[in-house]
């Protein structure tokens, strides 16, 4: 089946060709060839493996405040912005520079932004990158060799194992269906919703439509091209509640390709956001709490990112000239152990392009080391069965499963793509709330909590809802912080909702990926009130 898939991909590669793709791939291929053949300093090792990334982005922000535009987008198309990135391994398949963190450098790839849109200009950018990268890798190679000699390392697992390479070229650029004027009107309509609600001191809305194409090519035959149209919608407001506690409340929504909802739907969502923020005026101050919390999908997303994704990523720790690798996933030695609540299946599906009619951000037929990706069953009945792997292997592991991911912050390391958290049994929202209240009763608690969103920043706490055991009454609470969070909470999940939702997450600290999950009721969480103090009321009334 996989063979068929890759034949199809190869056919795609030669089908509808976009002219610019030829130019960029040609420039990358020619410079890659020159790099591998000629880039060498006498008596030093040559590049063993080199890969080039090229990302083209086109788009700009549209901002509004209280229903009125605060910046104007260019009505004429602007030139796409090109960013080049490189990863090089010097040495050979046995002894090489990969997987070592030198104290002088971050484990981030070298990058050049603002490459010109042409053959010579793209080559020029990669020529400069390759020169810089080669010198850096020679230094890292020498340091790594010295480190291994000094520590007498016994682990003979490959730092950069040989692997079959794949090709996937989707040369169709993502279409941009809307005009700049549409986005200007959309942002105006979104922030205008804030006018309906009292107590809000500020209200802004921003939309960033961005067309992106990624080209990837390496010296061992790996090749990939994919395009996306991203829409980032960001709403923010400021509110000073009845106790004088000032809150900056923000939300961000990401949509992929034609997934941007219609204007009316977005306006409705914006209205809901501002309404909830405004109702926060009456919110009660949080008190210390230990007990069950129902995480709605957007809040459960943060929980899963913090406790699961982080722990199954970067499965092989980096060798470091100083200290220990704190970024290595904590589940690297937990195969066969229970890491999740029984009754859940967790899968990572890089080969899934769409789900429920939605394009998935983590679609990755060929990974960031050129290896064909494999779908993985990570957890079954709560037990960890597998982990994502790059070409950097741990002892006993024979080969990569095509999960090398690279971001602007990190060179290729093992990571997830399209993560699915699937419960065997689901409950309606009403049933979940009843389960939450039932558990509170059992624990002798007066109330439980429902979290709508995950706190992205301790100073930017979203309001959460307190639900009372005696009558099911709900009220907003402000100033709560999650404390002492550990992976134990994943084993403490009591139930899941029937409200499965897919979240698209663009490249940032972690490479683009998607997570599909329902609401999760966690048995025991610790919440504490923030130490932040109220602020003075405005000197002058709002105009």
């Amino acid at each position: 089946m996989r063979a068929l898939l890759f034949t199809l991909m190869a056919l795609l590669a030669t089908a509808g060709v976009w002219a610019q793709e030829d130019v960029y791939f040609q420039a990358m291929a020619d410079e890659l060839n020159r790099t591998q053949k000629q880039l060498k300093i006498a008596d030093s090792p040559k590049p063993y493996f080199t890969s080039f990334w090229l990302t083209s982005s086109q788009g700009r922000w549209h901002h509004s405040s209280w229903g009125e535009l605060v910046s104007a987008a260019n009505q004429e198309p602007q030139a796409a912005r090109l960013v080049g990135r490189i990863h090089m391994v010097v040495g050979d398949k046995k002894e090489n520079s990969h997987g070592f963190l030198h104290s002088r450098y971050y484990y981030a790839p070298n990058e050049v932004s603002g490459l010109g849109n042409g053959y010579d200009a793209v080559r020029l950018g990669f020529w400069r990158l390759a020169d810089m990268e080669y010198r850096e890798m020679l230094e890292i190679y020498a340091q790594k060799e010295a480190y291994k000699r000094q520590r007498q390392l016994l682990d003979d697992s490959a730092d950069f194992a040989p692997a079959k390479q794949g090709v996937f070229v989707d040369s169709q650029p993502a279409a941009q269906p809307f005009t700049a004027q549409y986005y200007d009107e959309l942002v105006e309509a979104l922030s205008a919703e804030a006018k309906k609600y009292p107590y809000l001191e500020d209200a802004t809305a921003s939309v960033l439509p961005q067309q992106q194409t990624h080209w990837y090519l390496n010296s061992q035959g790996g090749k990939r091209q994919v395009s996306f149209l991203w829409h980032l919608v960001r709403l923010s407001t400021q509110m000073r509640n009845k106790d004088g506690f000032k809150q900056n409340i923000e939300t961000e929504w990401f949509f992929l390709d034609d997934g941007l909802p219609a204007k009316e739907e977005l306006v409705k969502k914006a209205s809901e956001f501002y309404r909830r923020a405004s109702e926060g005026y009456q919110a009660k101050r949080a008190e210390p709490y230990i007990g069950p919390v129902l995480f709605k999908p957007a809040a459960a997303l943060g929980l899963v990112e913090s406790l699961f994704v982080k722990n199954v990523s970067n499965t092989k720790p980096l060798l470091q000239s100083e200290g220990e690798d704190q970024s290595a996933g904590g589940f690297k030695d937990k195969i066969g152990q229970r890491v999740f609540s029984v009754g859940f299946v967790v899968e990572d599906k890089p080969l899934l392009r769409e789900y429920n009619g939605q394009r998935l951000a983590g679609f990755l037929p060929v990974d960031d080391e050129g290896v064909p990706s494999e779908n993985l069953l990570l957890v079954k009945n709560g037990k960890l069965l597998d982990l994502p792997f790059s070409r950097s292997l741990t002892q006993g592991r024979k080969k990569s499963n095509g999960h090398a991911r690279m971001s602007s912050r990190q060179r290729p390391r093992a990571g997830i793509t399209n993560l699915f958290i699937t419960p065997q049994k689901t409950y309606t929202q009403e049933e979940l709330e009843q389960k939450l209240l039932q558990r509170c009763r059992e624990l002798g608690l007066e109330y439980g909590y429902i979290a709508e969103e995950w706190p992205s920043n301790p100073d930017n706490l979203p309001n959460i809802t307190r639900i009372y055991v005696k009558d099911g009454q709900k009220e907003q609470v402000y100033g709560a912080q999650l404390k002492n969070l550990t992976p134990r909470s994943l084993r403490d999940i009591l139930a899941a909702g029937d409200d499965e939702k897919t979240f698209q997450i663009p490249d940032s600290n972690y490479p683009r990926h998607s997570i599909t999950l329902p609401s999760l009721l966690v048995d025991e969480m610790e919440l504490a009130p923030t130490n932040k103090q109220p602020e003075r009321k405005p000197f002058v009334p709002q105009p």
């Binding site: 880039l39 009125e68 535009l69 010109g116 405005p538 002058v540 105009p543």
Partner: protein, 567 residues
Amino acid sequence: MKKAILFCLFFSLCFPVWGAECSAQKDPMLSVLSSELMRNFKTLKKQKPPVYYMSYQLVVWNQVVVDAVAGALKTSDVSTDAFVDIAVRVGNMHTDNTHELKGVWMTYDQEALRTALDAQHRNALRNTLWLGTQSAVEQALKDYNNVLTNKQVSSASTDPSDDFVLPQKSLFCQTQKPVAYERKEVEERLKTLSALVKNYDFIDASSFSFVLDEKDRYFVDSVGNLIRTPSALARYVMAIQAQTPDGMVLERNVLYDGFTMEDFPSLQQMKEDFAQMADELKQLLQAPVAEPYTGPVILKNRASGVFFHEILGHRLEGHRQKSDSFGQTFTNRVGKEIVSPVLNVSDNPLLSHFNGVPLRGYYLFDDEGNPAQNVTLIEKGVLKNFLMGASPIKGFAQSNGHGRKSLGKRAVARMGNTIITPVESVSYDELEKQLLEQVKKQGKPYGLIIEDISGGFTMTETSAPQAFKVNPLLVYKIYPDGHKEVVRGVDLVGTPLTSFSKITAAADDFAVFNGVCGAESGWVPVSAVSPSVLVSEMEVEKVEKSPTKPPILRPPYEGKHAKGGKK
């Protein structure tokens, strides 16, 4: 007499346009700004401690950025944004929240917020102003408390002058048509120019760009100022870079400035300039490294302009005379000779062009609402005045319209168009003859001609030596027989008092240096106009070299080194 006529001609090119008197009723943006400012000020002036002065400066900023590399576009963007700066003064004019804190690092940041593009969007604008004012006042109150405490525990200031002088009231509105430009033409021009690099395989890096900044600036304050002044600055830049085998990075650049597209030369002229620039870079690559040297030097006109700006101009900025943390090189030297008597120095922001060349330091009102003034700083070598913003100093109680800043910063005294004029001048050929006479007289093997300077820095703080260093881009040795030789790798160093007293002559070959100057109040556009000057003794030292080697492979231009090409 001939020279005097020439200067009249130069200066007659002051911008003749003067705007109409305006009122809040006539300009909707000024109306919104003014009404919101007065609504806030009415309450805030009654607080304890009071806000005794406040201003809003709103800038609607249209920007075009195009740049190209190796015959292809990198960027081609057009954007429109609006930002508002909010300045608040708490306390009283003698001591307010901006008072210098002793022994504490001072920040010159102030509230700057993105806001509505025009007065039609008055709700967004008014809300931004209200939020920003609240935040600015909260910060000003904190700063004012710090000031009062710091004053109690610190020694008395040498200059007890007030912290602020109110601006005079001006009602002035000017409008300007948008700059007419063809984006395609700009793109094609840059693509053509940047493709020329491919013929020169010694060039390691290059930059070809065009930036057009059109700003419509609105200023209102609690004194009643209503000012609207538009500006447009456009610039083409061509820059190339190469590295010698010993690691020294060399560069050449050409800048073209204009207020309109008509100010720019033809594409053919730019191609010729590029060829000359590339030729100079090649000469530099092959040039020997200069040895440390002390002796006579000619600073060519543009280089001299940068030199005066960096080394003299910053020391004549008013606020530096008051602060005990600055070296105050010239503070007590008013009426005394501080540079060679062969020179006059003035700063005239009202001058838009010099000899047909646009001056970037042109403006009518400064960023504190004061009308710009032509200020004579030095007459026949004698110090007469300082560049003054709204911070008075001993003997200089008023602003002369030099309070300048960039977005999000608090204004301090800065230069605009700094003009160096000799009392007497000679031809440039004569200046070279005088240089060679000095070489012989001092028994030196050669003299130096500093053709171009990229920039430099001067230390004005008391904690550092009162010295300067400037970075020449192109330097020639001139031997007693008159032949010239390019050298590389030198920096000019010295102390201002000594260096300026050793200027012995100046030529009549005025040229303009247009630049952007950075200091505590941010980046502001400036110009310097200067002739070439002869300095009887200057010191040069070797530059710091890059620790890296040049690129291992040559640039990969199609057909040239596509298949290889090691250096």
